[in-house]
Subunit: 286 residues, 2 copies
């Protein structure tokens, strides 16, 4: 590495895989703390604006969080004809909540295990949450998602799981009991969406999630999108539904009717994102 | 950065943008030399197999070069009904040539400016070229592409520009005179394809290429694909044609007829790759 600085000094770095490092130059550290659940660091970077890491994994940057949040939220919300009551599990930064609130929701509940993520985001990431924590439709609950769900059967139109990877505090959010709890907490025509990591780095994560969801939901749709900040830049999501999904024309109509303004997601991008390359398809064949 | 090693010691690193570094742990350096044109380094890495860099930029890794080479080559070759004579400009590693030879070509010419890239790849990257340099249909010419083309008017069915970025020896391959020379070197129904970098990092590169091509070719099709090794993982390509492109059904038919076996590219992936997100579309509006 050239230049006077080296990673570990004024750099925020992620070990994406053994022997694979991605590092951003830090202008200023804003937060460096250990919460009861994880290490939480927030840096002002030279290249990506403010950047949040949890346990050394990049969660978001101001520059390109839109890729992830738009693709996690809008497919599920648009596939529902009237998403009135929405649950976000995780997502303490408020970015997913911000996108949820662009739809005609009456009530959005955010259940985050780590209060510190919400506190830090409220203070330091206004460009991400854009005031969504203060929206009168929003309720914030500090609890583990897998504890919250069983007490709320049949309550939600859409559940968005905005989790970390299946290690650390987010591990329970990738297992069958959690998916069954989501199914129980959804209304009869409810829709679930979640992120399932990089198919190149963690093929068994995507494979396991899709297999588990197929035993619970009749409609399971994996899709892919760019997330430049995340390892390999190729990210997978899965949408699961108890009822069949609307036509592409209907998604286009709702996208216009709800006046969604987006930078990455469109209904056409969502359709294209469902075209899965052969090396990923090989993981998903039933 | 944790662990005993640091980038610059047993790491191969690329500065993707100011303050943005991507580093792979090196098991062994295989080649470290300065050619008349550029610095050429080849490493055996822990994570990605062998990795080639030119002037400190990652050109390919054995692990995931298929993303790039399949998407650069197959769209153009499949869009041509009978690509008999094909030119690859650059691509001294032989990966693009390998994919070209999977089509029913009679003659493929590779014009590479830097003989050392061909020599090193022949010796160290057999999994990439897969013997394509020795194929009897292949002719290797060491010359700058922009010098070669004017002597070969109307000769090629397809031209693939497999260039580095528009700095260093590859700079001339991103300018209008070069695109006009490609147009002149193509037969009347010829097709050109090239890579145009990361739309997120270098929007003006993609924008400039598309604008320049539109003044020369009636059909210009930008498309996007994942390339995990390249900065942001989101890569743009442009296909340009003097005649209108075949239907999706025809591409599917040719894909089957030519018995192409691929890991990332399919005709459906190519169709999906042409769906451009709003933030990129904004660059491309005429």
């Amino acid at each position: 590495m050239t230049g006077g600085r080296r990673p570990g000094e004024d750099w925020v770095c992620e070990e994406q895989a053994p022997g694979v490092w991605f590092c951003l130059g830090v202008k200023k550290w804003l937060v460096r703390r250990r919460t009861p659940y994880q290490a939480l660091d927030l840096a002002e970077t030279e290249s990506h604006g403010r950047v949040l890491t949890l346990d050394g994994k990049f969660m978001l940057s101001e520059r390109d969080e839109f890729f992830y949040h738009e693709m996690l939220v809008h497919p599920a919300l648009l596939c529902h004809p009237s998403p009135e009551r929405v649950l976000v599990v995780g997502g303490g930064d408020g970015g997913a909540l911000r996108e949820v609130l662009r739809h005609p929701v009456k009530n959005a509940v955010l259940v985050e295990i780590d209060e510190a993520v919400v506190e830090v985001s409220k203070e330091w990431l206004p460009s991400v949450h854009q005031g969504s924590f203060q929206d009168p439709r929003v309720e914030i609950i500090i609890a583990p998602g897998e504890k919250f769900l069983p007490a709320h059967p049949g309550e939600f139109d859409v559940i968005i799981v905005d989790s970390t990877d299946p290690i650390g505090p987010g591990a329970a959010l990738f297992e069958s009991p959690f998916f069954r709890a989501c199914h129980e907490a959804l209304r009869k025509d409810g829709i679930l969406s979640l992120q399932a990591g990089s198919p190149l780095l963690w093929p068994s994560e995507l494979q396991g999630v899709v297999q588990a969801l197929r035993t619970i939901f009749p409609v399971v749709v994996p899709y892919l999108g760019f997330v430049p900040l995340y390892p390999t830049g190729m990210w997978s999501y899965v949408l699961a539904s108890a009822v069949s999904l609307p036509s592409q024309e209907e998604l286009e109509r709702r996208f216009s009717a709800r006046r969604l303004s987006t930078r990455y997601f469109t209904p056409a991008i969502f359709q294209a994102a469902q075209v899965i390359p052969p090396f990923v398809e090989a993981l998903l064949s039933p």
